[in-house]
């Protein structure tokens, strides 16, 4: 037990490593060696009543137990013209297990307060889950490169080259660390 009720495995790993993300125009990307994936939308920011500073806890009761992503998620889906039901695989920032539960709620995969039972039902499992989450093991199990490996996994899933490949993955969600603002979310498609 580290910080009741969080145990050792509820905290992410500590890892040294690096990821390079290369972006290009759609036109230019057609001629590149690796198969591109496309950004549908990318939102960065949040709401003024959540996360005003690193240890600011003055948010209203209805958002205290949240990841602070809802306003970013709503804009992200609206700009892409899709909803949570269209997402085939979700790479949710997993520095701490409870923040994954709350992102599932904020990104609309389940209702508010239902994150725990949703996970217990098997809904985020790779094999047969409604929304596979962190198919690479994430920061809890694979490594912690501060969110960058979630982008790598999303790209691999959409290219069809992931180790734990979600069949026919077309749209992937990548979230940036729940913390004080700004937070972020992005939808990628093949």
């Amino acid at each position: 037990m580290i910080a009741d009720p969080l145990c050792l495995y509820d905290f992410c790993l500590e890892t040294d490593g690096a990821v390079a993300v290369i972006t290009a125009s759609v036109e230019r990307a057609q001629d590149l060696k690796q198969k591109p994936v496309y950004v549908m939308s990318s939102e960065h920011g949040g709401h003024r009543d959540w996360g005003r500073a690193f240890a600011w806890y003055g948010m209203p009761d209805e958002t205290f137990a949240s990841s602070g992503h809802k306003s970013v998620a709503d804009r992200m889906y609206a700009k892409a013209g899709v909803g949570p039901g269209d997402v085939d695989v979700a790479l949710l920032y997993d520095h701490f297990t409870p923040m994954v539960l709350m992102q599932l709620e904020d990104y609309g995969f389940c209702g508010k307060g239902e994150g725990g039972p949703f996970v217990e039902s098997g809904a985020i499992r790779f094999d047969g889950g409604a929304i596979p989450v962190n198919t690479h093991g994430g920061q809890l199990s694979e490594c912690y490169i501060i969110g960058m490996t979630h982008i790598v996994e999303a790209v691999e899933q959409l290219r069809g080259t992931a180790i734990n490949q979600v069949a026919d993955a077309e749209i992937a969600l990548v979230s940036g660390g729940p913390a004080h603002l700004p937070v972020s979310g992005m939808l990628l498609r093949r």
Binding site: A3, D4, A55
Partner: protein, 144 residues
């Protein structure tokens, strides 16, 4: 009787400050609890950011508070926060609401209470805990 929570060992706690936060730490050093209040619209804000989120004024006052707090949430920890330097200890980081400062919330150690006794909503009172370089931080104990 189970063990009571204590404050983190002060000799390992160092703080930095700037123009906006210094009055808070100066008051704590002198045994006073204060919070930043906008001089133009009376809105309290902690931490003391340069601009008031309600009216954008930069005029601040630092009223002396009663020292009363209410526990909003907490977490029981038992592993050493300074591995190799300090032993494992029972400490309880808590979020404390200050009713005479517009209910702004501070993060502070909750002391002199057992894990069984600590509860959301309990009444607290401030104490000051010496840390490195002659400074002090507010901690909270059950109000009696």
């Amino acid at each position: 009787m189970s063990e009571k929570a204590r404050a983190l060992p002060g000799e390992f706690i160092r703080i930095g400050m700037d123009t906006w936060t210094e009055p808070y730490w100066q008051a704590a050093k002198e045994g006073r609890l204060t919070a930043a209040q906008c001089s133009d619209c009376d809105h309290f804000r902690m931490p003391p950011s340069p601009f008031c989120p309600e009216c954008l004024s930069q005029n601040l006052s630092w009223p002396e508070l009663s020292g009363r707090g209410v526990l909003f949430s907490y977490c029981v920890c038992t592993r050493s926060p300074f591995p190799g330097k300090a032993a494992d200890m029972l400490y309880i980081p808590g979020i404390v609401e200050l009713p005479d400062a517009g209910n702004v919330r501070l993060v502070a150690n909750i002391v002199d209470v057992t894990p069984e006794e600590v509860e959301i909503g309990m009444a607290l009172t401030v104490r000051f805990h010496a840390i490195a370089d002659g400074w002090a931080i507010p901690i909270f104990a059950p109000a009696r």
